[in-house]
């Protein structure tokens, strides 16, 4: 009996161990292949060269154009998702009837459920042609990809921010109403500041999600790495570059193969930092009102 219990506990511990092995695996794989890369390309060139052309005859290995592409699309997505997501959170928490909130929260999750390849189609085939009527826009551009990505991450911002707002004790709200404040004043002067750490977490997670998003940008933003903040021209993100190389036949051990891991580790460092910051904020502040 006791042996059986032991064996079961061991098996369960193994399942949990798989998650550790996954992290170790990711870090090792990225490190080893990236080290192979940096044996051939100096880290100075990687960080300072303003061109990224590993697939051309005249090879340059500067990550900056891919980084600028990644941050440009992310920035546009955040400009769309933050105001809308936060407004939704405040509205649902302060204005909406509980019944409406119960229905609309899962409904908003639909936005996060639609596969990203479908969003890519929306961006390339619907949003870009629509915007072209009003402005000078290339067929592939950061603007459409960023806007559509923003729509996709609305529920990340709204859902987590709403959770943070509803964790604020009612007594604060009642005190504010008691002073004669309107709902709007209560929301933005009392509730939002009180929930700021939770809202911060939602913003960081949405940001991290946008940096790692792949298919929307691979389909709609183009495949031309360039160091620019112009949202109307084709660019390339880190993720889209990895996909582009993977589509072709790149033999293992070639520098082309190594580049996707060098790009991957750059991406991983950013998302890893953001996730840990958000986790730290969550731990540090979650018991504030308990």
């Amino acid at each position: 009996m006791r042996t059986k219990e032991r064996i079961i506990e061991g098996a369960l511990a193994f399942c949990a161990l798989v998650t550790i092995l996954t992290t170790v695996g990711i870090i090792l794989v990225l490190l080893i292949e990236a080290i192979n890369f940096f044996e051939q390309v100096s880290i100075i060139e990687f960080l300072t060269d303003t061109q990224w052309t590993p697939l051309f005859a005249n090879k340059h290995y500067g990550i900056l154009p891919l980084l600028s592409g990644t941050f440009l699309t992310t920035l546009i997505a955040m400009i769309v998702a933050l105001p809308i997501g936060l407004t939704i959170a405040v509205y649902l928490n302060e204005y909406a009837a509980p019944k409406f909130r119960k229905v609309i929260k899962p409904a908003l999750e639909i936005l996060a459920v639609v596969p990203t390849v479908v969003y890519g189609f929306f961006a390339l085939m619907i949003v870009t042609p629509f915007l072209k009527q009003f402005m000078d826009l290339a067929g592939f551009n950061a603007l459409s990809a960023g806007i559509v990505m923003g729509i996709m991450i609305i529920p990340f911002v709204s859902s987590l921010s709403e959770d943070a707002l509803s964790a604020v004790p009612d007594s604060l709200r009642e005190a504010s109403y008691g002073m004669g404040s309107t709902r709007l004043q209560t929301a933005f002067r009392v509730m939002v500041p009180a929930a700021s750490s939770g809202i911060g977490v939602s913003v960081i997670l949405a940001f991290s999600r946008a940096i790692g998003e792949t298919m929307i940008v691979a389909i709609a933003a183009g495949s031309q790495p360039r160091l620019t903040m112009d949202p109307t021209v084709p660019i390339q993100t880190i993720t889209a570059y990895i996909v582009q190389v993977s589509m072709g036949d790149v033999p293992h051990g070639s520098i082309g193969y190594n580049t996707i891991f060098a790009a991957g580790i750059t991406l991983f460092i950013f998302t890893f930092l953001l996730n840990n910051i958000s986790y730290w904020i969550k731990r540090r502040y979650q018991e504030q009102y308990e």
Binding site: T22, G25, V114, F121, T182
Partner: protein, 284 residues
């Protein structure tokens, strides 16, 4: 105008703004889907579902793609469900508040935030190359299983902690061992929540494209996988391939394939929501 009145008007204005924001994304999505239906619905036919891919758009179908998606769905479930539930039980029932438990927890929350394309790089190196599975259904399923493991673990933990401790205590008091209590009491009571989380995770896996492209799943596979070691393609990759072509006919094909993919993901999510509602009612 008095300040009070001005403030009340601002309050009303924000209310209207709030409702608009709430429906903004959903209405846009509805418009997008309507356009997709308009573009692709006529292309949907029995032939489209049963034809192999072809370089002629009007003869091309999604047979290999949806069979591949089905393979991935089944294998990923078989791999990720036991692993995720096992890890969830371990974390919830076998670890105390300790450094080890915190470390596991931080690690899982980190994994949940790793971009899917990075999982593709892991799968490419470990499953495709080192374990020599090649760009097979098995390599794809293993990669996606690791990707969705954090979701299954977190929902397993939530479901288990929602089971009243009185129920577990009663079982232990009657002389049941820890595992007997988990197997006979905790798990059956938590199963609704666990299944909901797992199904949502599987729906995520079905829609994933990037990690499978990275491990080398092909856009053009002229046959249906016969075993887990065969090469494969899936619906999202087929869609990506068609979207990237300049000819309008292929874009129509992509729209039609998107309709099929959306029906699939929405049905899977519908099942999950149904299960969740039933389970929450039962739990009281």
């Amino acid at each position: 105008m008095s300040k009070g009145r001005y403030n009340r008007i601002k309050d009303k204005v924000f209310q209207v703004f709030g409702i608009s924001a709430t429906f903004f994304g959903l209405i846009l999505l509805a418009i997008f889907i309507a356009i997709i239906l308009y573009m692709g619905l006529n292309r949907l036919s029995w032939d489209f579902l049963t034809a192999l891919p072809s370089r002629f758009a009007d003869q091309s179908g999604i047979y290999t793609a949806w069979i591949g998606t089905f393979w991935i769905l089944i294998l990923t479930t078989l791999i990720s469900f036991p692993l995720g539930v096992g890890a969830g039980i371990y974390l919830e029932e076998y670890t105390e508040e300790s450094g080890w438990a915190t470390f596991l927890e931080i690690n899982i929350s980190n994994l949940a935030g790793v971009p899917s394309v990075i999982y593709g790089l892991l799968g490419l190196e470990v499953f495709v190359r080192i374990m020599q599975f090649g760009s097979s259904v098995l390599a794809g399923s293993l990669t996606l299983s690791l990707l969705i493991l954090p979701i299954i673990i977190v929902s397993t933990r939530e479901a288990i902690s929602a089971v009243p401790s009185s129920q577990k205590d009663a079982s232990m008091a009657l002389g049941a061992t820890k595992w007997q209590t988990i197997w006979n009491q905790t798990l059956p009571a938590a199963m609704g929540g666990i299944l909901t989380g797992t199904i949502l995770a599987i729906s995520r896996a079905v829609g994933e494209t990037a990690p499978l492209i990275v491990i080398g799943a092909l856009a053009y596979v002229p046959f249906v996988p016969q075993s887990p070691m065969d090469q494969f393609t899936v619906l999202p990759i087929q869609i990506f391939n068609w979207v990237s072509r300049p000819q309008h006919e292929f874009v129509i094909n992509a729209a039609a394939a998107i309709i099929v993919l959306l029906i699939l993901t929405f049905s899977i999510n519908g099942i999950a929501i149904y299960l969740r509602n039933r389970w929450q009612k039962k739990l009281g």
